[in-house]
């Protein structure tokens, strides 16, 4: 016992010390996340000026991170809740009716069925703040509604097939892929543009930070159209046949397409070939979904498999089976995966990070066949478009409870919306910035040797041309009079900026240096040590 005690005490001491230090693990995690990696190692910097500068900025960073961690606590007042089953209950046993009865009135109002049997099946989508819903009936019915207030903003009957609909940067504009062309309507339902550059579009998507409307269709051509300037930024032929599965990665803006040969491709406007092409399924890819962090990708194929991929590593994490090929998928803000086919919809919780064993919720459409569904941002609602109209389903814990008004404000006023529009335009990212790893932007990226060579040759050619032009100009004006006018002197000075002899001189200097170095080395090598006996000397190289 006596022997045992001291170590225990020591251990206790440690724990007590630790206890003092230990903070809320969540807060710690937040702090770590906010730190964004290790700080600059100031010790290794020799440049005093730079060191001073970095020291200051590091101090600012640190204070910023500290403050942000504090603020984080204040800014996340609401926590997400989920359904929890007791005893032998299972959450997937809960019927929608039961849930609707259980929740408060305002939430209950969000579950509704809209019976529109004539013009279906319906496509639908939400604005980024979740306030507006856009419906696109296959038979030409377009409707924009403030769905929570059951307020129809506008309604159009375009009298031709509508294949897909998409909101532009906010609810004031939306695009519809119709029978032949893509049209853009404003919130009054007036057609403001007809995009005749491309036809037979099956799927539309919008990149909000880049203001790019992406579309793909019958011809398998992916198009990026800048909705702020109206230009087509890029058109890529996928050469993989017709395609109607398109989503974008919210993390990096890369567009993902699902193709009929089981491939999923990732595209950026910069590259004419797919940045990534991966074979996911045996049969055609029917549905894609990405989680808001852009880390997880879920794919569903006709081979009845559902796979979850880690986009960063491009490796599959889990695979699930379905008894019939899943035709639709979506991932909510908090990472709930919804899958569906026919009349069935299942929502899975924690199915991305780890392998879930059972669904979280199941739902059976009372009428109609599933066409599409989308989670509503910042709401615990899944909007379902089907052949008989629109239904919504309550999915507790689907939406992000804390919204960031810099990103999206569900309670946006008109003024705020206008402001937001301007800010978004000012902060618009150029299409070039879409790359697989957005963290590389601003970083050092070594260019390949041939690219560097080419660039250098271009530079020298440009320099030579400029010099020649300047010389020509100078010759043309070579008059003796006013030779030393200030303007002239200034021009002369300017013309010296590019020195054509400098590169050769530099090269020569370099050569000289290397030669000297070599010579010195040689000398050092060949030097015979003083203490070497005479007899041995001949073995040294002279």
């Amino acid at each position: 016992m006596a022997e045992d005690e001291p170590p225990r005490q020591a251990g206790e001491g440690k724990t007590s010390k630790k206890r003092k230090k230990v903070r809320d693990p969540e807060a710690e995690e937040t702090a770590k996340r906010l730190k964004r990696g290790p700080a600059v190692d100031l010790k290794s910097i020799t440049d005093k000026k730079l060191k001073g500068k970095l020291k200051r900025t590091e101090a600012v960073f640190a204070s910023s991170q500290k403050k942000a961690a504090q603020i984080n606590e204040w800014l996340l007042p609401a926590s997400a809740g989920t359904l929890e089953a007791e005893g032998i209950e299972r959450t997937w046993n809960f019927k929608q009716e039961a849930i609707v009865q259980a929740v408060d009135v305002s939430a209950a109002a969000k579950a509704f069925d809209l019976s529109l049997p004539e013009l279906g099946p319906y496509n639908l989508t939400f604005t980024r703040n979740g306030r507006y819903m856009l419906l696109g009936g296959r038979l030409g019915h377009l409707a924009l509604m403030d769905w929570q207030r059951s307020h129809l903003v506008c309604e159009v009957q375009v009298k031709e097939a509508v294949r897909d609909v998409a909101f532009l940067h906010n609810e004031t504009f939306f695009a519809a892929a119709q029978k032949k062309y893509v049209y853009i309507y404003d919130k009054r339902g007036l057609e403001v543009h007809c995009l005749r550059d491309y036809t037979d579009v099956h799927a539309l998507d919008f990149l909000p930070h880049h203001f790019l409307l992406t579309s793909i269709g019958e011809h398998g051509v992916l198009r990026y159209q800048d909705t702020s300037t109206g230009h087509i930024v890029a058109q890529h032929k996928t050469k993989l046949g017709p395609c109607d599965v398109m989503r974008h990665n919210p993390h990096n803006g890369v567009t993902l397409l699902g193709h009929s040969r089981g491939c999923v491709t990732m595209w950026t406007p910069n590259l004419t070939t797919a940045a990534v092409k991966m074979l996911c399924h045996k049969g055609p890819v029917k549905a894609l979904a990405l989680d808001p962090s852009g880390t997880y990708l879920a794919t569903a194929g006709v081979d009845s498999q559902i796979k979850v991929w880690d986009v960063r590593m491009l490796r599959p994490l889990h695979a699930y089976y379905s008894h019939a090929p899943v035709t639709h998928m979506d991932i909510s803000q908090r990472g709930l995966l919804a899958v569906g086919y026919g009349r069935k919809v299942q929502v899975w919780q924690d199915a991305l990070r780890s392998k879930a064993q059972s669904p979280y919720l199941t739902h059976h459409l009372p009428e109609g066949v599933l066409e599409t569904f989308r989670f509503c941002p910042f709401e615990d609602v899944l909007g379902i478009g089907h052949s008989a109209g629109i239904s919504t389903m309550l999915v507790p814990g689907a939406g992000e409870p804390n919204f960031d008004t810099f990103v999206a404000n569900p309670f946006q006023t008109v003024k705020q919306r206008q402001q937001q529009e301007v800010v978004a335009l000012l902060d618009k990212l150029q299409p070039d910035t879409i790359v697989l790893d957005p963290d590389t932007i601003g970083r050092v990226r070594k260019e390949p040797a041939d690219v560097a060579r080419e660039r250098r040759s271009e530079e020298t050619a440009a320099n030579a041309a400029r010099l020649a032009a300047m010389r020509r100009e100078a010759e043309a004006k070579a008059k003796m009079k006013g030779k030393n006018k200030p303007s002239r002197r200034h021009r002369k000075k300017q013309s010296n900026i590019i020195e054509d002899r400098k590169p050769t001189i530099k090269e020569r200097q370099k050569e000289e240096a290397t030669r000297k170095k070599e010579a010195a080395q040689k000398k050092a090598e060949t030097a015979i040590p003083e203490d070497a006996p005479r007899a041995v000397r001949r073995f040294y190289k002279q």
Binding site: V40, K277, L279, S322, H323, Y341, V435
Partner: protein, 1187 residues
Amino acid sequence: MARPRSNNKVSKQRAGAGSGKRKLGDAPHAGGAGSRPAKQSRRESRSKRVAQDVYEAEDSDPDEVKHSERFDKVDNYEYELPSDFEDEEIDEELAFTEEDKKKFGAWFGKEVSSDEGEEGAGIGDDDGEDWDDDDEGEGADDDDGAGEADDDDLLLGDDDDADGDIDGLEDEDDEGGDSDGDEDDERHRAMLEDILGAADGGGGGARKRACRDPNAAVVSEAYPESEYNLNPGAASAGGAVAGTLSIADLLQGLTGEERRKLGAARRLLEKVAGAGGAGAGADGGKGAIRPVAVPLPSVVAERQERKAGYEAAAEDVTKWQSIVKANREAPTLRLVSGRNEVSRVSTTAALVAQHVPSADNALEAEVAALLEAAGADSTKTIEEAEEQLALKALSLEEAKERRERLAKMRSLLFYHELKARRLKAIKSKEYHRHLARAAKRKATKLAALGAEGGGEGDVDAERAAAIEAEYQRAKERLTQRHRNSSRWARRALKRGQLQVDAGTKAALAEQLQLGQQLKRKIEGKKGSGDSDDDDSDASTSASDDEGGEGNGADKPNRVRSAALELLAGGGPLDLDGENAPKKGLLALPFMKRAMERRKLQAQQEAEQLLKELDEQEHLRQQEDEEEDGGGGGDAARQAADGKGEAGGGAGLLAALVGYGVPGAAGTAVAVGGRRKFGGGGAAAAAAAAAANGGDDDDVSDLDSDDAEDAEAKAERLGRRTKESAAAVAAAASQAAGRGKKGRKGAVAVTAPPTAADEADLDAAIAAGAAGRGLLVASSDAGVDLGVVRQDGGADDADAERRKSGHAASTRAGGKAGKGKDILGEVAAQQASLAAGGGRAALFEGAAGAAAAAGGAAGVGAPPKFIAAKTFGGARSGYVFKKGAQGLGYYWDAKAAAAAGQLAGAGPGAGGAGKDKSQQQQQRKDDGVKIAGTTTQKQQPQQQQQSKKGKQQQQAEAVANGAAAATAAAAAAGAGDDDEEEDAPMMRPADTGAGQRDLIRQAFAGDDVEAEFAEEKAAAVAAELPNVEEPSALPGWGAWAAQQRNPRWMQAAKDKAAKIRADAAAGRKDANLKYVVVSEKWDKKAAKYTAPTAPFPFTNQETYERSLRQPLGRDFNPDAAFRDLTRPAVLKQSGVTIAPLRYSEPAAKQLGKRGRKAEAEREGRRVMTVAGGMVRAGGGGGGKKKQQ
């Protein structure tokens, strides 16, 4: 001086050359005419040592002679020695001994000596360079001997070495003898001239010239001979130094009448002449005036001025350092108007108004109380009272009148003030003209002053002194120290003498001294110039001396010497000697008597003074000893004090004598002319030298200088040791051994697809597993790549699965181990697999994975072969042998069956160690179980397939031996039945199985993997680096028989192949069979990246880390956002950016050291500059205002 040291080699070479030249020049009269650059000759012409002048030897041959010589036939170009000439062998190295060098040092190192002189005057290297470009020749003394001899060889042409040397020696001898006027030497020279045939001692150079160029004698003078350009040699008869033209020479021609007429001017000239003679001769001639020294060249003077200016400016600028540093370091400068910063109270009235008598101060309080009692506590009340008083005494009309008068007066005053201000501001043409005139007058006056005085001394010393004086003057002009006009001085004076402490007093006194000294210089000059006889003038100038001179240590000495001189009966009052006035007032007898009297008195005084001086000296020595050399400043001050007294003594003396003590007061004046104020040590030394030294002294001086220089040089060279090479420590590189993990423990194997899965389909259908659930968890361990074909030996796929799904596998294992659920699960797997496990074998991988999860339940099919290098223990169902696929474990059905039986016997065969939570989770498992139970019945009938379980279990369960397990599972399934019926949607869809089967069949012919592999290969090949490969068309460039692949070509091809293979292996997708990642260079995105870390950064990592924090408002708190994005300069609109002003407190605070102060400075984000002044504490407060 710095140059030879920096590149010793070059200097040596040059020295060699120079010495060679000098050898030639050594020949006395022709020295260096050819070899010396123009500057040198200029310098020589400046110097008075004309005896050595090259041009002195210029023969006065008439042209005819020259021509005749030119045109004469020359019989013999060879040099002939005289018949009686005796050649003696002189070793080259012994030609000049050390003694010779000492003796004839002037010839060896003439330049050196001059340099020394300059240095002695304390003037920098560059000056020396300018004066004498042959600086590099300094090293000449070090290497005599071989180099010299060689040079001689070169230059002398066909002469013998020894001969040349001898000539040199002899010539030097001549030189030495010349000054002595030795007759022997004269004769010898004549003989030599005869021998050499050179007219008038042409010497080596001339001789050489003669040899080379017969017309050499024609070209001689740099200047044409004329009355303006006198030949100094012509007048060599009279002067003290041969060849100089003295004033006496000029005056000689004057007749008596003319002399009388010239009067004062002649006297002056005579005096100057006397001084000149005296300078060269015995004594400094007390009454003599020295001619004005040549003013320094403007270049030198300006340089001194610049130097002084630079120092002053540098000192002035340094005080800004802390402010400028802080300014540069501040992330943001905020420029605001200084209006608010300046205190509003600027007038005394305002100050008075603000004054509140403090209660602490008794006097103040008392005064305030008194004033209040008297009703005079404020000006207003006083005024009111006065007004009332005044009005009271007057009648109404008078009062009115008075008020009007006052008003008028006030307005008049106001107008006057305005006018005065305006006038003051006007700077008219007349004003400028006046200024210019004044300046001109002043300049002429100064010039006149400068024309007088001065004398001749050692030229170099004088020059040095002049330079020094120039510097001092420039410095003085810049600082104006003598005027006591600085703010500090004014304040100190204002405070009054009583409060001044000792240090301040001394400093003030010094300033006063300086001023007086300057004044004395001006006046003294004037006085002595105007009339020597003016006693009062002289006495005033002497009494001005009282402040003492700045020059320290020699002052008392001078006083002492003056006193001694007085006592000895000499000195300025020496009336007996030649100095005695013969005419004028002083020549009158009563004046003489008075002088006599004063002399006596002065001698007494001098005695007293000497005594005092001795005492002082004694005291000072004692104090010096006490302070042990540390308090040099104090000692100096005391010395200065003593000096002040001494100076006073000197002044007293002067006053008594009626004449300045030349040693004490006169030196500075004597040496430098009007430009010399300071009269530094060098000047004094020069004067002393001039007083003491004759011609001989000069020579000896040079000698000693040379010797010293040589010694110093030798010392320097000796000190230069070879630099030892730094030992370079070789870095030992460690070979990092890489241990490879044995795979055997972790082999995750999934079986290739089994066709038998088909049977499961039936089972599933039969069971009517009609769960409506959409998804069934495939519950496989690793990630199953349905698309990747699992060949028997597809280890890499296995490995991938192993890695990615390690955790899952453990779970699966755990699940498998759970006895109760095992079979239900297995059955479920089978059911799901059944749908996919048809003929097409499309989902083999999936099936395999599922089976793997099935693990111990024994549904898995083990791989046929596990590669292993060594035998890692027995594996059930495997035989370790060397077979078709190499060494490893081979699947043996029999052994497997046996093992399976064994394993199956135990209920939780595989699941020895699984955790409870997992079990619970498994229990919750839903639809799967239903399917499991339903298929359970068919299970035994199915063709049994065995699959290998997961690695950690290492237990293979085989279906054959799973009967017991089946039974157990059946029981478990039965137990779960009721629960599972509550999950109707998880039943397979009605049409599910059939559809799936159909789908499988539909895709049977599609080999998407193979297609994809092809595509990938093509894509990779397209992106591989373009390596050029040599290739030869068969039949081209070679005979048909030689169509083999040459070795070099093969090597090149191999190399290219290797490069390509490396590139392919380095791709991101190299290990991902089902992924192609394009590695095309994204040119458009390249503009958002940096090819290298930008300038101040040297490290990529540092650069990238410094960018890690986003700057936007979305990512930062408000304060941090503003800190991060604030511009470098903030400026209030409409504010003039004032030039930076100096404020001492701010500078002090910003210059503060220490961690705390630095942290404080670093923490400051904004530095506020208000009205050009850095606000010391500001910045933090400024944050609020901006933005």
